[in-house]
């Protein structure tokens, strides 16, 4: 147990109390009503020492079955990527991780420059001009982007793709509920799995924003994006695109096809899965000041010190934020995911543009190899949708119950993907499988073999 009084003799403690002017520590709580003071101790499990707690938590976590103990092909918004050792080495510097928000910039240049570089990298990746230094995660980023668009445009209607991730869709609903605006879903095309442009045309009137994901939740590349931008812009709305940042090593930056705001999940840039968090919400927009002034979150800018000679960094545009603007703030966000942004910038620096291209290409090829091999399995229809995909694709099981197939795969220590029915009831008997650089050709062959065995 940690004992905060252990280093002190009774004499020292008494001197301190005397200086304060009280007889006992309890006197410092004299303004707490007696009727609610805790008598005795809280009813908590017994205290453990350092060695014991490590052993205790370790023993419980041992019950988890993690990737490789069970070969996992889950993505669905959080694909598993390898984390280079140098990333962990840098984020475990306690100069970074035991600091807080750089309220005193002169003594915090390290984190400030790092976050400035993170913002810059995000701008390069997404083709945007201004990025903030993080949101909580992709879903809250997407929701805040829509709220931002509603503030800028004022028309109480937004459009979201039917084929975006269910996590995002649900969080968007919660975040927008108090605004009392219409959230309309733009259908996807049943054959290609891509956004149905005709449906977009039908619904776009008076919309403040359109939010789509690219690749979409089914892993499919939305290639009509320039057209979508044109349609929503014609109505004066904001075009918001959610991305997998690593896919941008291969795919066009949303800035190149007309996006106004880009959001995404940055956890896979140098962060492990960790059962879904800490996450990293990527958030960037075009350099249009009417947009920038409505952005949520901390933004770091470059300046100099007063000598004018030394480059320096500091938080800027703070008049948008809660500590100054209070109820008029663009968002309530204060603590964010800064250390995850540090991991992301180190990760991107280690890869460089060439490494990122190689990685995204390898992922694309692995997924397509897997798809081809799986399509050879009897009664497996892969891919289900005809649209071109990146790292993830849907597959339909014919003549067998997908849940039974899934259970039998798990018995074989394979999680073949995500059963889609729960999220998209009309997608019956289907799986969404994801492939990245962590999967070897042997892993893919094991998956194929397992399918063959359980499909008989």
């Amino acid at each position: 147990m940690v004992e905060f009084f252990k280093n002190y003799s009774r004499e020292k403690l008494e001197k301190v109390l005397e200086k304060i002017g009280v007889k006992d520590v309890e006197d410092l709580y004299s303004d707490v009503p007696d009727s609610i003071k805790i008598r005795g101790e809280l009813n908590l499990p017994e205290a453990l020492n350092e060695m014991e707690i490590e052993k205790y938590v370790g023993r419980i976590l041992e019950k988890n079955m993690v990737h490789n103990e069970v070969l996992t092909f889950l993505g669905a918004g959080l694909p598993l990527h390898y984390v280079p050792a140098a990333v962990e080495s840098i984020v475990s510097r306690s100069e970074f991780y035991t600091a807080y928000t750089p309220y005193q910039p002169e003594i915090s240049q390290g984190i400030l420059q790092t976050l400035f570089e993170y913002q810059s990298m995000v701008c390069e990746l997404t083709g945007m001009d201004v990025a903030n230094s993080s949101m909580y995660d992709w879903a809250t980023g997407a929701a805040e982007a829509l709220r931002m668009a509603l503030r800028v445009k004022g028309k109480r209607k937004v459009l979201v793709g039917e084929n975006i991730g269910p996590e995002r869709k649900n969080v968007i609903r919660t975040y927008l509920e108090p605004i009392e605006c219409d959230i309309l879903e733009v259908s996807y095309d049943d054959v290609s799995g891509r956004i149905d442009l005709g449906d977009l045309e039908r619904k776009v009137k008076d919309a403040s924003a359109l939010y789509i994901e690219n690749p979409n939740f089914f892993g499919i590349i939305e290639k009509d994006v320039a057209k979508m931008a044109e349609i929503i812009h014609r109505e004066g709305g904001v075009f918001i695109v959610g991305v997998d940042p690593i896919s941008l090593g291969l795919l066009k930056a949303p800035g190149e096809y007309g996006a106004d705001i880009v959001v995404g999940e940055g956890q896979s840039l140098g962060g492990w899965l960790n059962f879904g968090g800490p996450s990293l919400g990527i958030f960037a927009c075009r350099g249009d000041m009417t947009l920038v002034r409505q952005m949520p979150g901390r933004i770091i800018g470059m300046t100099t010190d007063l000598s004018g000679e030394r480059r320096a960094f500091t938080m800027v545009l703070q008049t948008r934020e809660q500590h100054i603007r209070r109820e008029q703030a663009t968002s309530n966000i204060c603590s964010n995911e800064a250390l995850m942004a540090v991991a992301a910038v180190v990760y991107l620096a280690l890869l460089g543009s060439k490494g990122l291209r190689r990685l995204a290409t390898e992922i694309f090829e692995k997924a397509h190899y897997a798809c081809k091999r799986l399509s050879e399995v009897k009664n497996v229809m892969a891919p289900y949708f005809s649209g071109e995909f990146y790292q993830e694709f849907t597959l339909k099981i014919v003549g067998e119950d997908v849940n039974r197939v899934f259970s039998r795969m798990v018995e074989k220590k394979i999680i073949p993907g995500l059963v889609l029915t729960k999220y998209f009831p009309k997608l019956d008997n289907m799986l969404l499988s994801c492939f990245t650089e962590v999967h070897s050709i042997d892993d893919i062959e094991r998956l194929v073999e397992a399918f063959k065995e359980v499909m008989i």
Partner: protein
């Protein structure tokens, strides 16, 4: 002076490489040509250079591991190292959130046990671990109040959230996001909620009250039971902002004060690192009356297995992807178990002792104590830069800049807004008495020097990696630079 920070002249990453970053052409079957990217301006550098870059930058940053960091209301306590090691296992790192729940029993058990602990510490009924930060918890809590009001069919009338003028900026910002109109209630001469003013603003329009206890002056609301009653009597809900719970663990519980909803900041009270700004974690605890509105999923145990419960028809729904900042939650759990009930109480008592001790050591000719003179503070206190110094043109900002020159961090400045030239100081329990004494000595020395040579303090800092920042240049539309590209168009 014993402190001098590293002064690397470290270029930006993109200045380290002059190479053209045009990408190799690819032609892949199944890749739509019109969607292929041609260029990314991210430099290609060696691992050596990249590691040196960030190591140099790290040397120009200050954390709790290097010295006292007494930002008021931020609770910058020491982060036990064992907690970091506990979460660095593949058994957590490689666990996907969408795996079948029978393969995630370990983490679900830890989260379940943590929720139990938080419920006991706060005196609430149930806890959600989902929110990613304190402000996120506030938004969740105010959405719950909105849902409860909607349920009673009173959404059209109950639109006012009462918030004291001493509150953190996140409170009004969160409540406004949840659709409420903010009604500010003033502090009285003691620095506490003005009860008469509160009685005047409550009524049929009252949705609820958001209260930070102890408040941002470090004062316990001694009339807390009356305040809660006043709001409940008119049908309003009570929200406890747990940012300052570090003063009260094991002493008194928000649930026993009658609060309906309580958020905690695990990165403050339960010692998880602040990470240069995050990740944090902001669990929300609820009374029996409002628990049905908690966000999904909750973690349940049926006596045999742990599982994620989504079937909660009155829940406000999903508030982020997946289930929370998991590794932060595990660290907080380990911290609670390391201290145990007695240790948590000790931590709070010691935090309060350190704060009062530091206040007692300050030279009151230079640091004036606004509100409730002589009333014991809790874990933090606020002083204002005294008349004597203000006459010399010395500001709270100047004092802060001088402090960092001594290799200690500044307190929170200019907050709460009801105190002019405020310094809000929270030493936390993990500073030894000697450290507290040293901080007081530095503060007094700075005041004395500032009084005699004000130009010195106005020019501070001198020993940090850069001198005082040109904030005007940073924020001026013509000189503002928000990324490493040439930003003429911004």
């Amino acid at each position: 002076m014993m402190f001098r920070q590293a002064r690397w002249i470290e270029p930006l990453l993109n200045e380290l490489s002059k190479e053209d970053n045009v990408l190799e052409k690819v032609k892949l079957e199944g890749l739509p040509e019109e969607m292929v990217r041609e260029k990314i301006d991210i430099p290609n550098l060696t691992e050596t250079r990249i590691v040196r870059h960030f190591m140099r930058l790290s040397q120009m940053n200050f954390g709790v591991d290097f010295g006292i960091y007494p930002l008021g209301s931020c609770t910058m306590k020491y982060n036990p190292k064992v907690c970091e090691r506990i979460v660095s296992t593949p058994k957590l790192k490689m666990l996907h959130p969408l795996q079948p729940q029978e393969t995630c029993q370990g983490i679900l058990q830890i989260l379940y046990e943590l929720a139990q602990c938080l419920v006991e510490i706060t005196g609430a009924y149930r806890a959600s671990l989902v929110p990613a930060a304190g402000a996120h918890g506030e938004f969740v809590g105010t959405l719950m109040i909105r849902a409860a009001i909607k349920d009673k069919g009173e959404l059209d009338t109950r639109k006012e959230m009462i918030i004291p003028d001493s509150a953190h900026g996140t409170n009004p910002a969160s409540a406004a996001m949840a659709g409420f109109r903010i009604v500010k209630v003033p502090s009285n001469s003691e620095g506490l909620v003005d009860i008469e003013a509160l009685k005047n603003v409550v009524g049929k329009k009252t949705a609820g009250i958001m209260l930070t206890v102890p408040n941002t002056l470090g004062l316990f609301e001694k009339n807390i039971l009356e305040i809660v009653n006043i709001v409940k009597e008119v049908g309003g809900y009570t929200y406890y902002d747990g940012a300052n719970l570090n003063a009260l663990m094991g002493k008194v519980r928000p649930g026993d004060m009658g609060f309906d909803i309580i958020h905690l900041n695990l990165h403050k009270t339960f010692a998880t690192p602040h990470g240069g700004g995050g990740p944090g974690s902001g669990p929300v605890c609820a009374s029996k009356e409002v628990e049905e509105y908690l966000p999904v999923p909750l973690i349940e145990f049926d006596g045999r297995k742990y599982y994620l419960e989504y079937d909660r028809p009155k829940s406000i729904g999903f508030v982020r992807g997946f289930y929370g900042n998991i590794s932060v939650l595990v660290k907080a759990y380990a911290y609670i178990r390391l201290l145990g009930a007695k240790g948590l109480r000790n931590a709070s008592e010691r935090a309060v002792l350190n704060s009062n001790y530091l206040l007692s050591l300050l030279d009151k000719r230079f640091y004036e104590v606004p509100y409730g003179t002589g009333v014991p503070r809790k874990h933090e206190f606020v002083v204002s830069v005294g008349e004597a110094l203000r006459e010399k043109g010395v500001s709270a900002k100047d004092i802060g800049k001088a402090l960092i020159d001594y290799g200690v961090h500044a307190p929170t400045i200019y907050f709460p807004l009801i105190v002019q030239e405020a310094l809000m100081i929270e030493p936390t329990e993990t500073e030894e008495f000697e450290e507290v004494e040293e901080y007081a000595r530095i503060l007094n020395e700075i005041a004395y020097r500032a009084y005699n040579e004000p130009e010195w303090v106005k020019g501070a800092p001198y020993n940090t990696s850069v001198g005082r920042i040109d904030e005007a240049k940073a924020s001026h539309p013509r000189t503002m630079r928000l990324n490493w590209r040439n930003l003429e168009k911004v």
